[in-house]
Amino acid sequence: MRWFDRFIFRWRTLFQKGKLDGQLSEEIRVHVEMATEANMVKGLSPKEARQAALREFGGVEQIKERTRDERGWMWLENFKRDWVQAARQMKQSKGFSTVIIVTFALVVGLNAILFGLFNSLWLNPGLYPEEDRVVRIFETFNDSDDNRRGSSMLLYADRVEQSQLAEEMAVSLKMWGNVNQEGIDPAPEFRYRLMVTPSLFRVLGVAPQLGRVFTDEEAKQGNDGVAVLFHDYWQTRYNGDSSVLGKTLYTDGEPRRIIGIMPENFRVPDNYHSSESIDFTPILLVPVGPGNWPGWASSENNRYVNWGGCFARLKPGASATAFGEELEAINARTGPLYPEQYALAQARQHRTEVVTIKQDLLRENRPFLYLLQGSLVFIMLIACVNVTSLVLGRGSVRRHEFAVRLALGAGRVRLVRQLVTEVWLLAVIGGLAGLGIAAAGMQALEMTGVSKFFLVPPRLEVNWSVAGFALLISSLAGIAAGLSAALPLLRNRSLGNVLSEDVRTGTASREAKVFRASLLVMQVAFTVILLVGGTLLLRSFAQILRIDPGYQTEKLLTLYLYLPQDRGYDDEGRKRFITDLDVRLQNVPGVAAAGITTWPPLKLGNIATVHLIRSGANHLDSAPPSGTTDFVSPHFFDALDIPLLRGRLFVAADINERAAVAVIDQRVAEAHFPNEDPIGQLIAIPYRDYRLTSETPLNWLRIVGVVKAVRVDDLLSYSSDGGMVYQTYSYTSGRGGTWVGMVIRARDDPARLLRPVRDLIGELEPLAAVAYPETMNETIKRRYSYQQAFLVVNLVIAVVALLICSVGIYGMMAHSVATQTKEIAIRRALGAQDLMLFRGIMVYWLKAATIGLATGLLGALLFSRYLERALYQTTPTDLVSYGGSILLLSFTVLAAAAMSGRKALSLDIVEVLRR
């Protein structure tokens, strides 16, 4: 029953506080009376007896306070009192409270946005049921930067047969092609589709929203005329009409019956194309399976080629690591059965890697998010220091209040607690306001299209976990700031000191000054770090904008055309079609020049590298392929405005006669013909193969011209180290469908050309699909929006930091000067020159700021290394960024110091001294 007694006791202390306090007073009063009587018995006079009794008793109020502390849920009771007190304080000093609330709101808002991102992507993606058991399988080789590739169907088949740890495995292959809905729109669309094994749905554990998914039977040849739609496509193409089930669509001319619709957030984890590429989002799924692989996927030569994403659902209890080891063992067992392929794979250090789907989600964006998190930690620190200094400033105004309360028996701890509660309350209110900022910020972020950068578009919303997080960090920050502001109170100084200090000296104590100066140092240091980061990114982005790609980007329209395989063009037919197209494109009204190319600039991701071999060189040299090649029309160079440096460009006759000629760019000329005239020399581009042998056939091309090198697949760098060799399009040879890329320079608005060009293509070939039409400016925007978003986010952080920092610095200086008004007034009364005093104030703060700047510089040097990967042609030690940040911040400090100094000097001496 003891716990019950205790509970009752505490309960009473909480709700019968008045009564209990009365009891205690009464008890003490009786005690004193009894002691008085006892003293009187000893022979003292009544007055002396009472005084002696009181003396013996000590501070009655302090004893009461300490006794109360012993009583049960005192903290709760105090808490209530602190709250009331805090609310009263807030009402009294609105300006002060507003500044603190806004500070917390900004900082917590920024942090909440990032947390929302993390939460939806990493902590709680909830894509698939029991997603810890869902893993992705990668093949890695030592010869590539992007070291994680998909697996071949052959490896997949071996694993399905031999793995013990996987409950089930699945594979998905991305295919492009035409999609044609007869009856809705006869013009085909060029879209991506996923060929998947029926097991994929079981591995991911996702059921369709409507209809059904594939059966294992449907993976077999002849049964595969079915399709399952992704939700987005169903919505946009069919307006979410459920009667679409049973209808037929055509992929590259093959009829497929629609049997199911996947739910809205269903995604198949794929290779990441992020912003670098055009829209690779697949729109539908079609079945595929053993015995029904596409021809290229089942060829034994392609055993170690990256064909598709491979997934598995592990048996309960099996770990990704163990599964990875099992797969390695399978590789070692089955590999040697195909010695030639195996030797090649070994030479490239083939490994199989297994990661859980969760680990995979943030893969590409992790550095970005970590950097953001880093910046936000700094801004949080600045905010805390800032609030500390503001509270401290007010603390000195309230010093008398505290001293009096100490004298009246309040424990130091009680005062600290009250101060902390006050700041905490402001912080929490700020945190709630921060949620509003977070909601607005998330919407703004959504509009920048950041979600495209992620495999799973983050669900950016203020939900319970985000709200909980915001409250948690604002609470923690509030408590931290409150505690550090209460530090001076905690130091063991006698009451007398507190009360008499500024009466005696008329100025702040040395310790207080040092404490404040160190706050300024921290604030300045943290802000320097963030500012340097922001300016580095700004400088880097400016560099990107300044890049000369080597061609005109204005008034340029680029697009692809896709000819399905089933149109049955042979090489000659294709050449005729392209020539026709090329000729008629020039005559479309509004076209200045139009060219054919395989690689319209910046449109795709990386361009495949090829071997470039000049006559006379040892082509068995085992260097990896480093050049690139493009198949173009004569007008291509006109359309892009690529200057000819030597020789000539292609002419119509080169196409018609399939002349073996090539135009090289200046980089090829420098690399392969360093000290000679390349014109007239021979160069060969063997069919892309990993290893060249003496049997590899070489078709020699005669070099007729040299042009300026251009940046085709990335503004930031050239496609390859080896340069580009242009051939005429008459050399394209077809496997599968045909891509034809076009670059069209308009006389005015390039976007207006799309309609007539589309019509022209429809006229030439009704089954040809137009893919990815974009003006060059749109392409650039799409490609570099990631850098831009990264920059904007970091700049916002830096600006907020500067803002908070300057408010904090000014607040602290104003307060510091306020504590010195008496000193200043006395010195002025004694004849000190205003200018001297002003200089004194400025010099003092500048000293502190200089230390802060120096510390911040060191910090920035330390941390900017982590930015290096995000920087383009800007070193992490870029002088301009550092100098600029320092100038900006010095100016802020100077302005704040000057303002507070002026304020101090503008006060009336007599008025100040009389106080």
């Binding site: 008890e27 009786v30 502390d69 012993e70 701890v413």
Partner: protein
């Protein structure tokens, strides 16, 4: 939270209060006199420690305070030991004995 400044070993005041209350219920003043007397005027119990200690003990359910009438016909708050208090005292006595024996032995060891 506030530190005891009594010249007593930390924690011993609670034990001594329980000991003093073992015979009869007592009020605060009586208790302070009794403690002084028990220690032959060696210990000066500070009031700043006594009342918080009483409150602590009451919270722990070891003693219970009740209003009664004193010998001088005053309403005073009397503290009575509870059964739990008695047990606690026994326990603390044993522990104390063990502790003091050990420390004595250690001090006498050469």
């Amino acid at each position: 939270m506030t530190k005891e400044k009594a010249g007593l070993l930390q924690g011993t005041l609670d034990m001594l209060i329980l000991k003093a209350l073992q015979l009869e219920p007592m009020h605060g003043f009586g208790l302070s006199q009794r403690l002084k007397q028990m220690s032959a005027e060696v210990f000066q119990v500070e009031m700043g420690s006594l009342y918080p200690a009483l409150c602590r003990l009451e919270k722990q359910g070891l003693i219970r305070g009740e209003w009664g009438v004193s010998e001088s016909n005053r309403r005073a708050r009397y503290y009575k030991m509870t059964a739990a208090g008695r047990q606690q005292l026994d326990k603390e006595k044993t522990q104390w004995k063990l502790l003091s024996n050990t420390i004595n032995a250690m001090l006498q060891a050469t």
